[in-house]
């Protein structure tokens, strides 16, 4: 940031703010008035100040008025202030022309970490004093209005990368490195330039260089993770993504990545810790829920193999509870338990199926699988026939029927079932043929 005397600084900021629209988003009228008054004392014109209390209103104002500066609370009812950021960037795509500041009483690391990840311009905590608020606004604005030569060079490098001019970007960014004593951002973009050329080792070196200047540099950490994954260095990537999750715990994408790598690297002990993190996350998307459930089930299977049954069952219970009726997870749990002969527990987990799913093919398939394991082929055939005749179709039902028919020496019936199954689910042809050949089918968990 350029060094300016305070009077010049104030003049530049005053002029900048006076010419620009400012959107203030906060559910509290008192907060909106307070922020508004401070912005006016910094030069904002009353006509340029737009104050709204709700997310939807804010979205509409961004579309209509395209305010340069958005000052928003993090918590906006069911929505998050950061959800306005994409809208803002859509309408003002040049980062030099848009400023987004979060003002919030939410001081959780989750909130701060999200703000870093989204690369907003500043984060102001409530309660704030007027002076602190102004100081934070000034810091954000000056970084945009009067970027240092170093930042200008880094920005130039970034633009060149976006234009697929990686070699030119590398030259510019190498020069930029010499302009700052701790040029982590230049290192990051150098890493990006090499990454676009698929020079993953060079990318990695630059991200690591960036982290040597600043060990919590989010972009460098994430860049390093991506470079290691691209080079299939999963164990090292896992170490990096663990660090990212430590500092930035609640990004669902980070959690998904760390879970995937925990399983790939067989770091089963870590999965339960990530479950704790998951439990503290406010925003859980479908992908994260599926990943955590799948990871818990895979871990559970590992512990059964290690003869740590109690621990396995605990993880299965957590998975079942988290799945909240997602039947794929329940199927996986039941299948694993039956694979290891834990029939009673499999029956218990059948009870996790929600009431409205108890006449579904999923439920009947699992029920039949348990029946086959506990009562044998004849009972399974009888029940399976009832299900098929009642138009309840599921690949597992047919697998069971084929297997049970073969066991009962009814080869023709088994062949008939095979033909029907392949017709219904051609993508599972190999699986059905393996069953027909009497091969044991391994549980494949998602």
């Amino acid at each position: 940031m350029s060094k300016l005397d305070p009077a010049t600084q104030a003049k530049i900021l005053h002029k900048y703010i006076a010419d620009r629209k400012v959107l203030i988003v906060d559910s509290s009228q008192v907060s909106r008035m307070t922020i508004s008054n401070i912005m006016m004392s910094m030069g904002a014109k009353a006509d340029n100040l737009i104050k709204v209390g709700e997310f939807q209103e804010a979205k509409e104002e961004i579309e209509k008025n395209k305010p340069t500066i958005v000052i928003s609370d993090y918590d906006l009812g069911k929505m998050c202030g950061l959800d306005l950021l994409q809208k803002h960037r859509l309408h003002l795509p040049d980062p030099k022309d848009s400023i987004f500041i979060l003002v919030t009483g939410n001081t959780s690391q989750i909130a701060v970490a999200r703000a870093v990840e989204e690369d907003i311009d500043n984060f102001i905590i409530k309660p704030f004093t007027a002076n602190d608020f102004k100081g934070s606004i000034i810091r954000a604005l000056l970084a945009k209005i009067r970027p240092s030569e170093y930042i200008q060079a880094v920005e130039k490098g970034r633009e060149l990368i976006a234009q697929n001019r990686a070699d030119e970007a590398i030259q510019v960014l190498q020069n930029a490195k010499g302009m700052d004593p701790r040029p982590a951002l230049a290192c990051y973009y150098l890493g990006q330039a090499h990454f676009t050329k698929k020079a993953f080792d060079a990318a990695r070196e630059n991200y690591e260089a960036g982290l040597s200047y600043n060990k919590i540099h989010y972009k460098c950490m994430h860049g390093l993770y991506e470079a290691l994954m691209a080079g299939k260095q999963h164990t090292l990537a896992y170490e990096v993504i663990k660090r990212v999750s430590h500092y930035f715990p609640a990004n669902p994408q980070n959690l998904t990545a760390v879970l995937r790598l925990a399983i790939i690297t067989k770091s089963y002990e870590d999965v339960e810790r990530y479950y704790q993190i998951f439990s503290s996350i406010e925003l859980r998307n479908e992908e994260t829920i599926k990943y955590i459930c799948a990871a818990l089930v895979i871990c559970g299977k590992h512990y059964i193999q290690q003869k740590a049954r109690a621990r396995a069952l605990e993880l299965f219970s957590k998975a079942a509870a988290t799945a909240s009726g997602r039947t794929k997870i329940l199927r996986d749990i039941i299948t694993v338990l039956l694979e290891f002969g834990i029939h009673q527990k499999a029956q218990e987990f059948l009870g996790y199926f929600p009431n409205d799913q108890r006449s579904s093919p999923d439920y009947h398939a699992m029920s039949l699988l348990i029946l086959e394991a506990t009562e044998g082929s004849p009972m399974a055939i009888e029940r399976g026939r009832e299900l098929i005749n009642s138009n309840v179709h599921d690949p597992v039902i047919y697998q069971i029927m084929i297997r049970a028919s073969l066991n009962a020496q009814h080869k023709a019936a088994a062949e008939d079932l095979l033909r029907t199954a392949i017709q219904k689910w051609p993508e599972q042809k190999n699986l059905f043929e393996q069953v027909m050949q009497g091969k044991k089918i391994q549980t494949v968990l998602a």
Binding site: V30, T107, V112, I125, P127, D132, Y150, I216, H217, C220
Partner: protein
């Protein structure tokens, strides 16, 4: 860094001297903002009304265990309903110790700097 930035412990109490009532102990009064010579607080509904006089006490405990006490008489300038059970009140401070006020403001300023430093360090330059 794996903990939240709640490095300051706060205990806020408020007595309404106009009605001679105190905010009940099981309600956590939150400080929302600190305007010039004022406070914006979240209090239970019907704790006060515009024009009422109150005494506010704020105890702070910083991470280094240093305690601070701020006490002031104040006037209720504005009242806004925040929810069915909570009001937001804007107080203007009438009588208070300047040193205590400075300590309080500095405490929050330091927290803002702590968070901002992490924020800009993580964003990086």
């Amino acid at each position: 860094m794996s903990t939240d930035f709640e490095s300051i412990k706060l205990q806020v109490s408020m007595n309404n001297t106009t009605t001679n009532t105190a905010v009940r102990k099981n309600f956590t009064i939150r400080i929302i903002e600190i305007p010039e010579r004022g406070l914006v607080l979240e209090v239970p509904i019907r704790s006060c009304a515009r024009g009422h006089n109150v005494i506010v006490q704020i105890e702070t405990v910083k991470p280094d265990k240093v305690r601070g006490i701020f006490q002031a008489t104040a006037k209720v300038e504005d009242l806004e309903s925040a929810s069915e059970s909570v009001d937001k009140v804007t107080l203007s401070l009438v009588q208070f110790d300047e040193k205590q006020w400075k300590f309080l403001c500095d405490t929050f300023s330091r927290r803002q700097r702590e968070i901002e430093d992490f924020f800009f360090a993580a964003k990086g330059s």
